[in-house]
């Protein structure tokens, strides 16, 4: 177990479980790993909430990022390398400081740590949300005017 010691395996399994993966197989010239979870995992009762309608767009949760991505393509590491700027509070997301004003950021912009990237309104207060990463804005996930919950991803940023 030099290549993949238990610690590494542990992280892999943790990752697979978080992402609701039932079976996993990885084959490389020097290594082949195959894994199959018990049918019941992730616990069916726990996993089910995503099935019914929620006010929120489901935050990128376990189930949403297909593990396939990770497993299938070591040559398409796109998604993993991206940093998500998440909402630190519950409220309503706005892309600009006022209706009609330009958005704080758009795809392709470079953001710095601490730069205001959007507004989340909570209890009538306009809270400026700052980026916790420096890099290039790759995707804007939330839509202006949309309610967001704690931890909900707002932007995807390719960190520098």
């Amino acid at each position: 177990m030099e290549r993949m010691d238990l610690q590494e395996l542990r992280e892999l399994v943790e990752f697979l479980k978080e992402n609701g993966i039932a079976e996993f197989e990885l084959e490389r010239e020097d290594q082949h790993v195959k894994l199959k979870f018990e049918s019941a995992f992730p616990a069916a009762i726990a996993a089910a909430p995503v099935l019914h309608a929620h006010a929120m767009t489901a935050p990128v949760s376990a189930a949403a990022v297909p593990a396939a991505a990770a497993a299938a393509s070591p040559d398409a590491p796109a998604e993993e390398a991206l940093h998500q700027v998440k909402s630190p509070i519950v409220g309503t997301y706005y892309e600009s400081s006022a209706p009609g004003s330009p958005a704080f950021i758009k795809v392709g912009d470079t953001v710095e740590v601490g730069q205001t990237v959007c507004i989340v309104e909570a209890m009538k207060l306009m809270n400026e949300i700052e980026s916790d990463v420096a890099g290039e804005v790759v995707r804007i996930i939330a839509k202006s005017g949309q309610p967001v919950e704690y931890g909900q991803p707002l932007f995807a940023v390719r960190a520098k």
Partner: protein, 460 residues
């Protein structure tokens, strides 16, 4: 006023699920809020909508007023049900709700605040003729004054340091002969410990029972007492077992005290469900200690013997309904009900036992109610209260209710974590408990007996 369309439940665990279930049965939409640790909880699954409001720590999620209010606003709810604990007796939260035009399901903030301050609550109840624990009602100036007070209060009395805490400057006094010495000792001790020798006096109850009265009150001045529960089986002021009715409360006492409570709450302008807690001394005298202005953990025992759904009643009261529509006539007491709080704790060491539940079998069948938000493969997070389930047994009399509880506890299987079930199984086999011979010191004696038993076994 029409019934709410959508209610946010600002709580977690079994009580969140309890409120969600009541809403569903009434056709009211529900919003659950949850911390990151509770993402896979049943209250999240069974609500119509769910909003993550923060990280695991309560202070940053369930106790985070702006987060809860924002969730209520973005989901556009009419009302918030606070459950018990957490924000349920937080008058500021109730005020923010009012300011945000969201109905807080509870009394007015002013009333919550008044009842939250022990001395104000005591004075308010005293003024309303509710019996309170007799005492000096302030600092005693001298030994002579202490003797006078003690005579009027009746021995035994307890002297306490005004500045006190931790038992220092405290003396139990059983006769006038002993009083002067004890007074001086306590005063000196208090002076040395706190730099203040002032003392006050209260009646001392050797073996108090914990008796509480459940009430419902509407916003139109109507109040109804629904009788008492007895919650004397406690460990360090944590209730373990509750029952209704109490063996110690006669129909006369129930009616008389119920009447006093109804009048006093009407005067205060109380509404919502509520609980008035009393201590009962060895002679059956009863003394007010505090009021809880929210639904109580042990409310199901009252529901069992009265047939009234207290959570639905809260919702209807908050929507402006009249009590006479909710409870058309004073309910008769039907049989006997007992509740066990099942905690995720080691049954002897009482250390919290968080973790994954690997096997879970709930007891069912005739006369058994279980309120829980746990399930097989569920996780008990380490951040919150350790209660994972309540088992409520309803029988035609106390004997049958106890037998049902024994059967139910035997069939309640929880593996992967420790629970208090083995402890409760022993309590239900204890002859004193079965006879009804107990008080709030019962668990101390019980643990002593257990320790004694173990010593004997080890020696034998």
């Amino acid at each position: 006023m029409a019934m709410f369309k959508k209610v946010l439940v600002a709580n977690r665990g079994e009580i969140a699920l309890r409120v969600i279930s009541a809403c569903r049965e009434m056709g009211i939409g529900t919003v659950a809020v949850y911390s990151e640790a509770d993402r896979n909880s049943l209250h999240v699954r069974f609500a119509d909508e769910a909003v993550c409001i923060g990280p695991p720590r309560s202070a940053e999620s369930y106790l985070n007023v702006p987060a809860v209010i924002s969730a209520a606003e973005i989901c556009d709810v009419d009302a918030i049900h606070p459950g018990y604990g957490l924000l349920s007796e937080n008058a500021n939260f109730a005020e923010v709700c009012r300011a945000s035009n969201i109905k807080f399901i509870g009394p007015r903030p002013e009333v919550t605040r008044m009842m939250g301050e022990k001395s104000t609550a005591r004075q308010t109840m005293k003024a309303a003729k509710v019996p309170i624990l007799p005492g000096s009602d302030g600092v005693i100036a001298s030994v002579d004054e202490a003797l006078t007070w003690a005579k009027s209060v009746g021995y035994p009395v307890i002297l306490k340091a005004v500045a006190g805490g931790g038992g220092r400057g405290m003396r139990i006094c059983r006769s006038a002969t002993d009083l002067p010495d004890l007074y001086n000792q306590a005063s000196t001790e208090a002076l040395n410990a706190f730099g203040n020798g002032d003392l006050y006096m209260e009646k001392f109850i050797e073996r108090p029972r914990h008796i509480e009265f459940q009430v419902l009150a509407d916003e139109h001045g109507n109040v109804m007492s629904l009788g008492e529960r007895e919650c004397s089986i406690q460990r360090r002021h944590q209730k373990l077992i509750e029952e209704a009715p109490s063996l110690q409360v006669s129909p006369e006492l129930r009616a008389r005290l119920g009447g006093v409570i109804e009048r006093s709450l009407r005067e205060i302008g109380y509404w919502n469900a509520g609980t008035i807690e009393f201590l009962m001394d060895e002679d059956g005298e009863i003394y007010f200690i505090e009021m809880n202005t929210r639904i109580q953990v042990e409310h199901p025992v009252t529901e069992a013997i009265t047939g009234i759904d207290l959570v639905k009643a809260q919702l209807r009261i908050a929507a402006g309904e009249h009590l006479s529509a909710i409870v058309p006539e004073r309910p008769r007491i039907n049989g006997h009900a007992i509740e066990c709080r099942i905690n995720a704790e080691h049954p002897e060491k009482f250390t919290p036992s968080a973790g994954k539940i690997t096997a879970f079998n709930l007891p069912g069948g005739n006369g058994i109610r279980v309120d829980t938000a746990q399930y097989a493969e569920g996780i008990v997070p380490p951040y919150y209260d350790s209660m994972i389930a309540k088992v409520i047994c309803h029988g035609k009399d106390r004997e049958e209710a106890m037998n049902k509880m024994q059967r139910a506890l035997d069939q309640f299987v929880v593996e992967g974590i420790h629970t208090t079930i083995p402890l409760q199984q022993k309590i239900f086999a204890d002859p004193d408990f079965r006879r009804g011979d107990f008080d709030t010191k019962f668990m101390e004696r019980f643990f002593e007996k257990e320790a004694e038993h173990k010593r004997t076994e080890a020696e034998g």
